[in-house]
Protein backbone atom coordinates (compact mmCIF):
# COMPACT_ATOMS: atom_id res chain seq x y z
CA UNK A 1 0.00 0.00 0.00
CA UNK A 2 1.24 3.46 -0.72
CA UNK A 3 0.66 6.34 1.64
CA UNK A 4 -2.51 7.49 -0.06
CA UNK A 5 -4.08 4.06 0.27
CA UNK A 6 -3.04 3.87 3.90
CA UNK A 7 -4.56 7.23 4.61
CA UNK A 8 -7.79 6.26 2.88
CA UNK A 9 -7.92 3.00 4.78
CA UNK A 10 -7.36 4.66 8.13
CA UNK A 11 -10.06 7.23 7.42
CA UNK A 12 -12.44 4.47 6.41
CA UNK A 13 -11.73 2.45 9.52
CA UNK A 14 -12.11 5.52 11.68
CA UNK A 15 -15.50 6.12 10.16
CA UNK A 16 -16.43 2.49 10.55
CA UNK A 17 -15.51 2.46 14.22
CA UNK A 18 -17.53 5.48 15.26
CA UNK A 19 -20.64 7.19 14.04
CA UNK A 20 -19.65 10.05 11.76
CA UNK A 21 -23.13 10.11 10.29
CA UNK A 22 -26.34 11.26 11.90
CA UNK A 23 -27.67 8.60 14.27
CA UNK A 24 -30.68 7.98 16.46
CA UNK A 25 -29.78 6.96 19.99
CA UNK A 26 -31.99 5.63 22.76
CA UNK A 27 -30.23 6.38 26.03
CA UNK A 28 -31.21 4.84 29.35
CA UNK A 29 -29.52 6.15 32.49
CA UNK A 30 -29.90 4.39 35.85
CA UNK A 31 -28.76 5.81 39.17
CA UNK A 32 -27.21 2.72 40.78
CA UNK A 33 -26.69 4.21 44.22
CA UNK A 34 -28.83 3.48 47.25
CA UNK A 35 -28.73 6.94 48.78
CA UNK A 36 -27.48 9.60 46.33
CA UNK A 37 -29.66 11.78 44.09
CA UNK A 38 -28.54 13.09 40.71
CA UNK A 39 -29.41 16.70 39.85
CA UNK A 40 -30.76 17.34 36.30
CA UNK A 41 -28.65 15.43 33.80
CA UNK A 42 -27.16 16.92 30.69
CA UNK A 43 -26.62 14.49 27.81
CA UNK A 44 -24.84 15.59 24.66
CA UNK A 45 -23.36 14.28 21.44
CA UNK A 46 -20.52 16.50 20.33
CA UNK A 47 -17.48 16.64 18.09
CA UNK A 48 -13.94 15.75 19.06
CA UNK A 49 -13.04 19.34 19.96
CA UNK A 50 -15.76 19.79 22.59
CA UNK A 51 -16.03 18.15 26.00
CA UNK A 52 -17.84 18.67 29.30
CA UNK A 53 -14.89 17.60 31.42
CA UNK A 54 -11.50 15.94 31.21
CA UNK A 55 -9.85 14.19 34.14
CA UNK A 56 -6.63 15.70 35.45
CA UNK A 57 -7.51 19.15 34.14
CA UNK A 58 -9.10 22.11 35.92
CA UNK A 59 -12.89 22.20 35.78
CA UNK A 60 -14.42 24.88 33.57
CA UNK A 61 -16.61 27.42 35.38
CA UNK A 62 -19.56 25.75 33.59
CA UNK A 63 -18.64 22.34 35.00
CA UNK A 64 -18.04 23.87 38.43
CA UNK A 65 -21.57 25.35 38.45
CA UNK A 66 -22.98 21.91 37.63
CA UNK A 67 -20.83 20.03 40.16
CA UNK A 68 -21.35 22.44 43.07
CA UNK A 69 -24.94 23.46 42.51
CA UNK A 70 -26.50 21.25 39.83
CA UNK A 71 -26.79 24.20 37.42
CA UNK A 72 -26.44 22.88 33.85
CA UNK A 73 -27.29 26.12 32.04
CA UNK A 74 -23.64 27.03 31.52
CA UNK A 75 -22.76 23.61 30.10
CA UNK A 76 -25.85 23.83 27.89
CA UNK A 77 -24.74 27.18 26.46
CA UNK A 78 -21.19 25.95 25.98
CA UNK A 79 -22.35 22.83 24.17
CA UNK A 80 -24.78 24.76 21.97
CA UNK A 81 -21.91 26.99 20.92
CA UNK A 82 -20.07 23.82 19.90
CA UNK A 83 -23.07 22.70 17.76
CA UNK A 84 -23.67 19.70 20.02
CA UNK A 85 -26.93 17.73 20.11
CA UNK A 86 -28.23 18.16 23.65
CA UNK A 87 -30.81 16.71 26.00
CA UNK A 88 -30.87 18.94 29.06
CA UNK A 89 -32.75 17.67 32.10
CA UNK A 90 -34.39 14.65 30.43
CA UNK A 91 -35.76 13.45 33.77
CA UNK A 92 -37.41 16.80 34.53
CA UNK A 93 -35.73 17.14 37.90
CA UNK A 94 -33.80 14.94 40.29
CA UNK A 95 -33.00 11.33 39.48
CA UNK A 96 -33.64 9.49 42.74
CA UNK A 97 -31.53 6.56 44.00
CA UNK A 98 -32.02 3.48 41.76
CA UNK A 99 -34.32 5.45 39.45
CA UNK A 100 -34.04 5.37 35.68
CA UNK A 101 -34.58 7.91 32.91
CA UNK A 102 -34.76 7.28 29.18
CA UNK A 103 -34.16 9.81 26.48
CA UNK A 104 -33.59 10.04 22.73
CA UNK A 105 -30.80 11.84 21.00
CA UNK A 106 -30.55 12.42 17.26
CA UNK A 107 -26.99 13.27 16.42
CA UNK A 108 -25.88 15.42 13.53
CA UNK A 109 -22.91 14.63 11.31
CA UNK A 110 -19.64 14.88 13.12
CA UNK A 111 -21.06 14.73 16.65
CA UNK A 112 -19.43 11.36 17.27
CA UNK A 113 -18.93 11.50 21.03
CA UNK A 114 -21.38 11.12 23.89
CA UNK A 115 -20.94 12.89 27.23
CA UNK A 116 -23.16 12.95 30.32
CA UNK A 117 -22.89 14.75 33.66
CA UNK A 118 -24.99 15.45 36.74
CA UNK A 119 -24.17 16.57 40.28
CA UNK A 120 -24.42 13.99 43.05
CA UNK A 121 -26.34 15.11 46.13
CA UNK A 122 -25.43 15.30 48.91
CA UNK A 123 -21.81 16.02 47.97
CA UNK A 124 -19.80 19.23 47.81
CA UNK A 125 -18.68 18.95 44.19
CA UNK A 126 -19.14 15.30 43.25
CA UNK A 127 -20.63 14.42 39.91
CA UNK A 128 -21.41 11.39 37.80
CA UNK A 129 -19.74 11.61 34.44
CA UNK A 130 -19.19 10.17 31.01
CA UNK A 131 -16.53 11.92 28.96
CA UNK A 132 -16.50 11.59 25.17
CA UNK A 133 -17.59 8.00 24.63
CA UNK A 134 -17.11 7.18 20.94
CA UNK A 135 -20.58 6.40 19.59
CA UNK A 136 -20.40 3.15 17.60
CA UNK A 137 -21.69 3.22 14.03
CA UNK A 138 -22.95 -0.36 14.26
CA UNK A 139 -26.54 -0.74 15.39
CA UNK A 140 -26.79 -2.45 18.75
CA UNK A 141 -27.13 -1.99 22.48
CA UNK A 142 -24.10 -0.89 24.45
CA UNK A 143 -23.65 -0.70 28.22
CA UNK A 144 -21.42 1.85 29.93
CA UNK A 145 -20.75 2.02 33.69
CA UNK A 146 -20.09 5.50 35.03
CA UNK A 147 -17.91 6.55 37.95
CA UNK A 148 -18.19 9.38 40.45
CA UNK A 149 -15.81 12.29 39.95
CA UNK A 150 -14.74 15.18 42.12
CA UNK A 151 -14.62 18.51 40.28
CA UNK A 152 -11.72 19.60 42.50
CA UNK A 153 -13.27 23.03 42.94
CA UNK A 154 -14.54 22.84 46.53
CA UNK A 155 -13.30 21.35 49.79
CA UNK A 156 -15.30 18.26 50.79
CA UNK A 157 -16.39 19.66 54.14
CA UNK A 158 -19.59 17.55 54.05
CA UNK A 159 -21.59 20.32 55.71
CA UNK A 160 -25.15 20.80 54.55
CA UNK A 161 -25.65 24.56 54.49
CA UNK A 162 -28.74 25.06 52.33
CA UNK A 163 -29.14 26.62 48.90
CA UNK A 164 -26.22 29.01 49.23
CA UNK A 165 -23.87 26.03 49.21
CA UNK A 166 -24.75 25.49 45.58
CA UNK A 167 -23.20 28.74 44.44
CA UNK A 168 -19.79 28.23 42.83
CA UNK A 169 -17.09 29.04 45.31
CA UNK A 170 -19.38 28.93 48.34
CA UNK A 171 -18.47 26.10 50.72
CA UNK A 172 -20.98 23.50 51.77
CA UNK A 173 -23.55 21.16 50.33
CA UNK A 174 -26.80 22.76 49.12
CA UNK A 175 -29.16 19.92 50.05
CA UNK A 176 -29.72 16.30 50.98
CA UNK A 177 -32.80 15.55 48.84
CA UNK A 178 -33.49 12.33 50.71
CA UNK A 179 -34.24 14.40 53.80
CA UNK A 180 -31.72 12.31 55.71
CA UNK A 181 -28.90 14.81 56.19
CA UNK A 182 -27.53 15.83 59.57
CA UNK A 183 -26.71 19.13 61.22
CA UNK A 184 -24.00 20.78 63.32
CA UNK A 185 -21.12 19.09 61.54
CA UNK A 186 -17.81 20.82 62.19
CA UNK A 187 -16.42 20.07 58.74
CA UNK A 188 -14.49 17.10 57.45
CA UNK A 189 -12.01 19.06 55.36
CA UNK A 190 -11.38 22.74 54.66
CA UNK A 191 -9.06 22.36 51.72
CA UNK A 192 -8.98 20.66 48.35
CA UNK A 193 -5.77 18.75 47.75
CA UNK A 194 -6.24 17.81 44.09
CA UNK A 195 -7.73 20.83 42.33
CA UNK A 196 -8.05 19.00 39.03
CA UNK A 197 -10.96 16.73 38.13
CA UNK A 198 -10.36 13.29 39.63
CA UNK A 199 -12.11 10.12 40.74
CA UNK A 200 -14.05 10.98 43.89
CA UNK A 201 -12.53 9.47 47.02
CA UNK A 202 -16.02 8.90 48.38
CA UNK A 203 -17.93 10.55 51.16
CA UNK A 204 -16.86 9.90 54.73
CA UNK A 205 -19.96 10.76 56.78
CA UNK A 206 -20.29 9.98 60.45
CA UNK A 207 -22.71 8.25 62.80
CA UNK A 208 -23.95 11.32 64.66
CA UNK A 209 -26.62 13.22 62.78
CA UNK A 210 -26.58 16.16 65.19
CA UNK A 211 -22.83 16.54 65.66
CA UNK A 212 -19.53 15.14 64.49
CA UNK A 213 -17.41 16.21 61.53
CA UNK A 214 -19.91 15.50 58.81
CA UNK A 215 -23.57 16.14 58.14
CA UNK A 216 -23.65 13.01 56.01
CA UNK A 217 -24.74 9.61 57.32
CA UNK A 218 -21.93 7.13 56.85
CA UNK A 219 -24.42 4.26 56.41
CA UNK A 220 -26.47 6.08 53.75
CA UNK A 221 -24.44 8.67 51.85
CA UNK A 222 -21.47 6.60 50.82
CA UNK A 223 -21.17 4.88 47.47
CA UNK A 224 -18.87 2.59 45.52
CA UNK A 225 -18.24 2.87 41.79
CA UNK A 226 -19.94 2.47 39.42
CA UNK A 227 -22.68 4.93 40.35
CA UNK A 228 -24.63 4.83 37.09
CA UNK A 229 -25.39 2.43 34.29
CA UNK A 230 -25.96 3.84 30.81
CA UNK A 231 -27.43 1.75 28.04
CA UNK A 232 -27.15 3.22 24.56
CA UNK A 233 -29.14 1.68 21.74
CA UNK A 234 -27.82 2.74 18.34
CA UNK A 235 -30.61 2.36 15.80
Amino acid sequence: MNNKQLLAASILSAFAATGAQAQDLNISITNLTQGIHFTPLIVAAHNGDASMFSVATTASTELQAMAEGGDISGLDTMLMAASADIQANPGAGLLAPAANVETMLTTTDGNMYLSITAMMLPTNDGFVGLDSWAIPSEAGTYTIWLNAYDAGTEANDEMIVGGAGGAPGTPGIPAAPGGNGGTNGTGVSDSQFNTNIHIHRGALGDDDMAAGNSDLDNRVHRWLNPVAKVTVTVQ
Binding site: T30, T33, A98, A99, N100, D207, R219, K229
Partner: protein, 244 residues
Protein backbone atom coordinates in the same frame (compact mmCIF):
# COMPACT_ATOMS: atom_id res chain seq x y z
CA UNK B 1 -6.03 -18.13 -5.75
CA UNK B 2 -4.38 -21.53 -6.19
CA UNK B 3 -6.97 -23.08 -3.97
CA UNK B 4 -9.79 -21.55 -5.91
CA UNK B 5 -8.46 -22.92 -9.25
CA UNK B 6 -8.12 -26.38 -7.81
CA UNK B 7 -11.58 -26.35 -6.31
CA UNK B 8 -13.41 -24.84 -9.27
CA UNK B 9 -13.45 -27.97 -11.55
CA UNK B 10 -14.72 -30.11 -8.71
CA UNK B 11 -17.55 -27.72 -8.02
CA UNK B 12 -18.43 -27.58 -11.71
CA UNK B 13 -18.48 -31.37 -11.94
CA UNK B 14 -20.89 -31.46 -9.06
CA UNK B 15 -23.15 -29.00 -10.78
CA UNK B 16 -23.19 -31.03 -14.01
CA UNK B 17 -23.96 -34.24 -12.21
CA UNK B 18 -26.89 -32.62 -10.53
CA UNK B 19 -28.25 -31.39 -13.88
CA UNK B 20 -27.84 -34.80 -15.46
CA UNK B 21 -29.60 -36.48 -12.62
CA UNK B 22 -32.66 -34.32 -12.82
CA UNK B 23 -32.95 -34.38 -16.65
CA UNK B 24 -33.37 -38.16 -16.76
CA UNK B 25 -36.60 -37.86 -14.79
CA UNK B 26 -37.91 -34.67 -16.28
CA UNK B 27 -37.20 -35.80 -19.85
CA UNK B 28 -39.60 -38.78 -19.68
CA UNK B 29 -43.20 -37.80 -18.87
CA UNK B 30 -44.08 -41.45 -18.22
CA UNK B 31 -41.40 -41.99 -15.69
CA UNK B 32 -42.93 -43.12 -12.51
CA UNK B 33 -40.17 -43.26 -9.97
CA UNK B 34 -40.66 -45.78 -7.23
CA UNK B 35 -41.87 -44.04 -4.13
CA UNK B 36 -39.13 -44.10 -1.59
CA UNK B 37 -40.51 -44.91 1.83
CA UNK B 38 -39.84 -42.17 4.26
CA UNK B 39 -37.70 -43.63 7.01
CA UNK B 40 -39.08 -43.34 10.51
CA UNK B 41 -37.42 -40.43 12.19
CA UNK B 42 -34.68 -41.63 14.46
CA UNK B 43 -35.21 -39.99 17.83
CA UNK B 44 -32.15 -37.89 18.41
CA UNK B 45 -31.13 -37.38 21.99
CA UNK B 46 -32.19 -33.94 23.19
CA UNK B 47 -29.45 -31.40 22.78
CA UNK B 48 -27.87 -30.57 26.12
CA UNK B 49 -26.52 -27.12 26.89
CA UNK B 50 -23.80 -27.46 29.47
CA UNK B 51 -21.86 -24.64 31.09
CA UNK B 52 -18.90 -24.70 33.42
CA UNK B 53 -19.00 -21.70 35.71
CA UNK B 54 -15.91 -20.73 37.71
CA UNK B 55 -16.62 -18.29 40.51
CA UNK B 56 -13.87 -16.56 42.51
CA UNK B 57 -14.38 -14.60 45.73
CA UNK B 58 -12.30 -11.42 45.36
CA UNK B 59 -13.04 -9.92 48.78
CA UNK B 60 -10.76 -9.66 51.79
CA UNK B 61 -12.99 -11.11 54.47
CA UNK B 62 -16.47 -11.72 53.12
CA UNK B 63 -17.26 -15.43 52.83
CA UNK B 64 -19.93 -16.05 50.18
CA UNK B 65 -23.02 -18.10 50.94
CA UNK B 66 -23.76 -21.21 48.81
CA UNK B 67 -24.06 -20.01 45.22
CA UNK B 68 -27.38 -19.98 43.42
CA UNK B 69 -26.81 -20.61 39.71
CA UNK B 70 -29.92 -20.70 37.53
CA UNK B 71 -30.84 -20.98 33.86
CA UNK B 72 -34.11 -19.43 32.79
CA UNK B 73 -35.97 -18.08 29.78
CA UNK B 74 -37.97 -15.34 31.47
CA UNK B 75 -37.77 -13.62 34.80
CA UNK B 76 -35.15 -11.63 36.68
CA UNK B 77 -33.48 -12.41 39.98
CA UNK B 78 -33.41 -8.69 40.71
CA UNK B 79 -33.94 -5.32 39.06
CA UNK B 80 -32.35 -2.04 40.12
CA UNK B 81 -35.01 0.19 41.66
CA UNK B 82 -37.50 -2.65 42.20
CA UNK B 83 -38.44 -4.26 45.48
CA UNK B 84 -36.52 -7.50 46.15
CA UNK B 85 -38.47 -10.75 45.90
CA UNK B 86 -38.84 -12.71 49.15
CA UNK B 87 -36.51 -15.32 47.58
CA UNK B 88 -33.81 -12.71 47.04
CA UNK B 89 -34.44 -11.18 50.47
CA UNK B 90 -33.84 -14.57 52.07
CA UNK B 91 -30.64 -15.10 50.08
CA UNK B 92 -29.32 -11.59 50.82
CA UNK B 93 -30.15 -11.60 54.54
CA UNK B 94 -29.47 -15.20 55.51
CA UNK B 95 -27.55 -16.78 52.63
CA UNK B 96 -30.34 -19.29 51.94
CA UNK B 97 -30.27 -19.93 48.18
CA UNK B 98 -33.22 -22.37 48.03
CA UNK B 99 -35.81 -19.73 47.17
CA UNK B 100 -33.90 -18.29 44.22
CA UNK B 101 -33.00 -21.78 42.93
CA UNK B 102 -36.63 -22.85 43.22
CA UNK B 103 -38.17 -19.72 41.71
CA UNK B 104 -41.04 -20.47 39.33
CA UNK B 105 -39.17 -19.12 36.30
CA UNK B 106 -36.10 -21.28 36.92
CA UNK B 107 -35.57 -24.14 34.44
CA UNK B 108 -32.32 -25.51 35.82
CA UNK B 109 -30.27 -24.75 38.91
CA UNK B 110 -26.94 -25.67 40.47
CA UNK B 111 -24.82 -24.77 43.48
CA UNK B 112 -21.39 -25.36 44.98
CA UNK B 113 -23.19 -26.49 48.15
CA UNK B 114 -20.81 -24.73 50.47
CA UNK B 115 -19.30 -21.48 51.62
CA UNK B 116 -16.93 -19.85 49.16
CA UNK B 117 -14.17 -18.33 51.26
CA UNK B 118 -12.27 -15.17 50.31
CA UNK B 119 -9.57 -15.88 47.75
CA UNK B 120 -11.10 -19.22 46.80
CA UNK B 121 -12.73 -20.41 43.57
CA UNK B 122 -15.56 -22.84 42.94
CA UNK B 123 -16.32 -24.65 39.72
CA UNK B 124 -19.96 -25.52 39.13
CA UNK B 125 -21.59 -27.25 36.17
CA UNK B 126 -25.07 -26.23 35.10
CA UNK B 127 -27.00 -27.76 32.21
CA UNK B 128 -30.34 -27.89 30.50
CA UNK B 129 -31.96 -29.42 27.43
CA UNK B 130 -34.29 -26.43 27.11
CA UNK B 131 -32.95 -24.32 24.27
CA UNK B 132 -34.95 -21.32 25.44
CA UNK B 133 -33.46 -21.36 28.94
CA UNK B 134 -30.49 -19.32 27.79
CA UNK B 135 -30.50 -16.64 30.47
CA UNK B 136 -28.00 -17.23 33.25
CA UNK B 137 -28.18 -15.74 36.72
CA UNK B 138 -26.02 -16.10 39.80
CA UNK B 139 -26.55 -14.80 43.32
CA UNK B 140 -24.70 -15.18 46.61
CA UNK B 141 -24.61 -13.26 49.90
CA UNK B 142 -21.61 -11.50 51.38
CA UNK B 143 -22.26 -13.04 54.77
CA UNK B 144 -20.58 -10.39 56.94
CA UNK B 145 -23.16 -7.77 55.92
CA UNK B 146 -26.81 -7.03 56.64
CA UNK B 147 -28.16 -7.71 53.13
CA UNK B 148 -25.41 -7.45 50.54
CA UNK B 149 -25.21 -9.84 47.63
CA UNK B 150 -23.33 -10.16 44.39
CA UNK B 151 -23.87 -12.01 41.15
CA UNK B 152 -25.19 -11.75 37.63
CA UNK B 153 -28.75 -11.14 36.48
CA UNK B 154 -30.18 -12.63 33.27
CA UNK B 155 -27.01 -12.82 31.19
CA UNK B 156 -27.90 -13.89 27.65
CA UNK B 157 -25.94 -17.03 26.69
CA UNK B 158 -27.92 -17.76 23.51
CA UNK B 159 -25.14 -16.58 21.20
CA UNK B 160 -22.46 -18.59 22.98
CA UNK B 161 -20.87 -21.39 20.97
CA UNK B 162 -19.45 -24.61 22.37
CA UNK B 163 -16.00 -23.72 23.70
CA UNK B 164 -16.96 -20.08 24.00
CA UNK B 165 -16.16 -18.15 27.15
CA UNK B 166 -17.51 -15.06 28.88
CA UNK B 167 -15.93 -13.23 31.81
CA UNK B 168 -17.62 -10.96 34.31
CA UNK B 169 -16.52 -8.97 37.36
CA UNK B 170 -19.73 -8.22 39.25
CA UNK B 171 -20.01 -5.59 41.94
CA UNK B 172 -21.98 -5.74 45.18
CA UNK B 173 -25.71 -5.02 45.42
CA UNK B 174 -27.87 -4.16 48.39
CA UNK B 175 -31.22 -5.93 48.62
CA UNK B 176 -32.68 -2.87 50.35
CA UNK B 177 -34.66 -5.11 52.69
CA UNK B 178 -32.64 -4.58 55.90
CA UNK B 179 -31.02 -1.37 57.10
CA UNK B 180 -27.22 -1.43 57.04
CA UNK B 181 -26.94 -0.99 60.78
CA UNK B 182 -24.01 -3.42 61.10
CA UNK B 183 -25.26 -3.84 64.69
CA UNK B 184 -24.35 -6.93 66.75
CA UNK B 185 -26.96 -9.60 66.25
CA UNK B 186 -27.99 -8.51 62.73
CA UNK B 187 -25.28 -10.16 60.62
CA UNK B 188 -25.27 -13.94 60.09
CA UNK B 189 -21.63 -14.32 59.06
CA UNK B 190 -18.73 -15.26 61.35
CA UNK B 191 -18.06 -11.60 62.18
CA UNK B 192 -21.24 -11.62 64.24
CA UNK B 193 -23.15 -14.89 64.19
CA UNK B 194 -26.36 -12.91 64.33
CA UNK B 195 -29.75 -13.09 62.76
CA UNK B 196 -30.31 -14.16 59.18
CA UNK B 197 -33.69 -13.53 57.65
CA UNK B 198 -35.92 -10.93 59.21
CA UNK B 199 -39.04 -10.50 57.12
CA UNK B 200 -39.51 -6.90 58.31
CA UNK B 201 -38.41 -4.48 55.62
CA UNK B 202 -36.84 -1.55 57.43
CA UNK B 203 -34.77 -0.14 54.58
CA UNK B 204 -35.38 1.60 51.22
CA UNK B 205 -37.11 -1.54 49.85
CA UNK B 206 -35.51 -1.38 46.41
CA UNK B 207 -32.41 -3.04 45.01
CA UNK B 208 -29.44 -0.77 44.32
CA UNK B 209 -25.68 -1.07 44.33
CA UNK B 210 -24.22 -1.36 47.81
CA UNK B 211 -22.61 1.72 49.41
CA UNK B 212 -20.04 -0.48 51.15
CA UNK B 213 -19.80 -1.41 54.80
CA UNK B 214 -18.69 1.41 57.12
CA UNK B 215 -17.32 -0.68 60.05
CA UNK B 216 -16.30 0.42 63.53
CA UNK B 217 -12.81 1.18 62.26
CA UNK B 218 -14.19 3.74 59.82
CA UNK B 219 -16.61 5.69 61.96
CA UNK B 220 -19.68 3.58 62.74
CA UNK B 221 -19.16 3.08 66.45
CA UNK B 222 -22.06 0.64 66.82
CA UNK B 223 -20.79 -1.65 64.03
CA UNK B 224 -19.75 -5.21 64.79
CA UNK B 225 -17.60 -5.17 61.67
CA UNK B 226 -13.96 -4.11 61.38
CA UNK B 227 -11.89 -2.74 58.56
CA UNK B 228 -11.18 -6.34 57.57
CA UNK B 229 -14.74 -6.62 56.29
CA UNK B 230 -14.62 -3.70 53.90
CA UNK B 231 -14.97 -4.48 50.22
CA UNK B 232 -14.92 -2.64 46.95
CA UNK B 233 -16.21 -3.47 43.48
CA UNK B 234 -15.75 -5.92 41.95
CA UNK B 235 -16.33 -8.60 44.57
CA UNK B 236 -16.50 -11.57 42.25
CA UNK B 237 -14.93 -12.96 39.13
CA UNK B 238 -17.12 -15.23 37.02
CA UNK B 239 -15.98 -17.25 34.02
CA UNK B 240 -18.64 -19.06 32.01
CA UNK B 241 -17.56 -21.69 29.47
CA UNK B 242 -19.99 -23.56 27.27
CA UNK B 243 -18.90 -27.21 27.28
CA UNK B 244 -21.74 -28.70 25.20
Amino acid sequence: MLHFKRLAPIALAGFLTACGGSSSTNGDPNANPMPVPTPDPVPTPAMEYQYQVTVTNLTNSQPLSPLALVLHETGQVWQIGQSASTMLENLAESGDNSGVMGADFVVSSASNDGILLPGMSAEVMIMTTDMMASNFSLATMLVNTNDAFTGLNAIDLSMMEVGGMMMFKPGVYDAGTEGNTEMPGTIPGPADGGEGLNVARDDVDFVAMHPGVVTADDGLSSSVLTGEHKFDNPALSVKIMRMQ
